[in-house]
Amino acid sequence: MRDTPLSNCEKRFLLKAIEEKKRLDGRETYDYRNIKISFGTDYGCCIVELGKTRVLCQVSCELVPPKDSRPTEGIMFFNLELSPMASPAFEPNRQSELSVTLNRQLERCLRNSKCIDTESLCVISGEKVWQIRVDVHVLNHDGNLMDAASIAAISALSHFRRPDVTIQGRDVTVFSPEERDPIPLSIYHMPICVSFAFFLEGSYLLVDPCEREERVKDGLLMIAMNKHREICSIQSSGGIMLLKDQVLRCSKIASVKVSEITELINKALENDRKIRKEGGKFGFAESMPKQRITTLKRDKAPVEMTDVEETASDIVNTTETTTEPVPSPVLVGMGTAQVGEGIVNSWGLDEEEEEDDEPQTEDTKTDEVMVISDSEEEEVVILNEVQKSKKTSKQK
């Protein structure tokens, strides 16, 4: 199915709003949407909601023979899938450019940064190692998939527990979770991706663009960083020219955001650990709110009001006379009045015809037929009405 095209007026409005530093949902330029991290009953299953964007990540492991070039290291395998339920633009079984970009960026962010200790995944050198497989599924696309995917991946990896193994000579015994407690992976640091969208030739930037903002952007800068302020990867796409101080500024903003998000992830992991230890109920069934068919759950949509009060009171204090929002009607003939001037004829008629019509509307006598429209087929006859025609401010 095709995605809804973006109309010109939406594009213009979004760019105008960005110039005035306003976003559709009332956020500031550097604000993230609400991030919600919830874990499932299995170890290694995590859902991240970034506003309306939802991403599910599942981590699993398997014993396999290692790669020939690296016999003492475990294997990490990443897979990101754009599910067709996320957006009508995603088709199943088709490698679109977006999915290739996201996959590549996820691999670069997590594998090349060496955030997981792969040496600890080795069981028998040269014969058996653990292969950790990270599957990320996009459930709903409302912009900024990369950030949500990276948060989901690293949370799921931190949440995951692999089975315990003992080695006796050449025999490997893998214990099930009931026999021995599974062991967490050893994670050195948590790299998190932060996306910056640039508009109007790089003069305006927004953090965490939503889907409509993404459609009008000029370029995108993705910085993957951890909380120790180490940059794991930088990618700039869209072909815009960025200045050095812009990139430095973005990295400073990214470090602030990353430390906030890392704290959030740690808190969520801690909560989940506590609940499991106390024996309480955990998993998605508990963390998703109950939904009934007769009601719809909706998050509180904040309506941005703070600005309005200040600007309104400023205007009221500085101006002296009140401006008339609607011009008063002008009586043209008996029973008719004209409000405003009307818009310019956009049909592209010859200019001569336009000029001929103008003097006609000026001199009218009350009893004669009034020519209001240019059409030759119509003759408008005014009935004897006493009321003035008033136009309300609601027009179609």
Partner: protein, 245 residues
């Protein structure tokens, strides 16, 4: 004989699921006369011989004297003849524009279906513009057709939109509430500040106010008042109006 009405009456206001059936047993009347009752089945109800089947999930509603329908929340639009919708022009092909209306197919809109358009005098419509038009043909077997002109040849408010303003999508239930003759939501909104509003039956709404900030406020208010009772809505609007002045 109120058997039919009685059957429906006990379920009014209840949630029904597709597959629920209303079957009517007509008792044999002694003198052989059968009184005919007329029941109008609205959207979501379908007649199947002697029974009425529910085909959408939702709440059963009733309007006097004999109209019944299922009130369902849905956002996916299905084109229907006679409905006025907001469409986005996607391509110009020969004599015809292709317009996206949110349905499964793109609708076609002829160049000549605008007021005052002739073969020489083409309307000023670009790709990506918004148009407000009515369906003349909309069934499941054919591609839907739009026109921006009514049966007399007048525009009657339809046609291309001007520049500016913001387009957003809401559920079909909210759109029907906005288009109701004495819509409370619109009346309450009017009191806050003046703005222009176009409501398409495909769930698309176009708003234009004097400043960007006001447009955003109206957009957010309309999106949130979908799930509010009228009390909550009025308190919210009062808060907004107070904060604005």
């Amino acid at each position: 004989m109120d058997t039919i009405h009685a059957c429906f009456k006990e379920k009014i206001g209840e949630v029904l699921l597709p597959g629920d059936v209303f079957s009517f047993s007509f008792p044999e009347s002694g003198d052989g006369t059968i009184k005919t009752e007329k029941i109008i089945c609205g959207p979501g109800l379908r007649r199947n011989g002697e029974e009425v089947k529910v085909c959408k999930s939702g709440i059963l509603r009733h309007k006097q004297p004999n109209m019944y329908w299922i009130d369902s929340q849905q956002r996916r639009y299905v084109p229907a003849k006679g409905e006025s919708v907001i469409g986005i022009v996607t391509t110009k092909a020969g004599d015809v524009f292709k317009v996206d209306v949110g349905g499964s197919e793109q609708a076609s809109l002829s160049y000549l279906a605008f007021e005052g358009a002739t073969k020489r005098n083409r309307p000023n419509v670009q790709v990506g513009d918004l148009v407000y038009g009515q369906f003349t043909i909309a069934n499941k077997d054919m591609e839907p057709e739009l026109v921006c002109i009514d049966s007399c040849g007048r525009a009657n408010g339809m046609g291309v939109f001007g520049a500016d303003g913001l387009l957003f999508k809401v559920s079909l239930g909210l759109v029907r509430r906005l288009l109701a003759p004495q819509s409370e939501i619109v009346k309450d909104l009017e009191k806050i500040f003046p703005f222009e509003l176009v409501v398409g039956m495909n769930g698309r709404v176009w708003v234009k106010a004097k400043t960007v900030q006001q447009t955003l406020i109206v957009t957010n208010l309309l999106e949130t008042c979908e799930n509010m009772t009228s009390q909550q809505r009025q308190t919210l609007f009062k808060k907004v109006a107070a904060g604005f002045f």
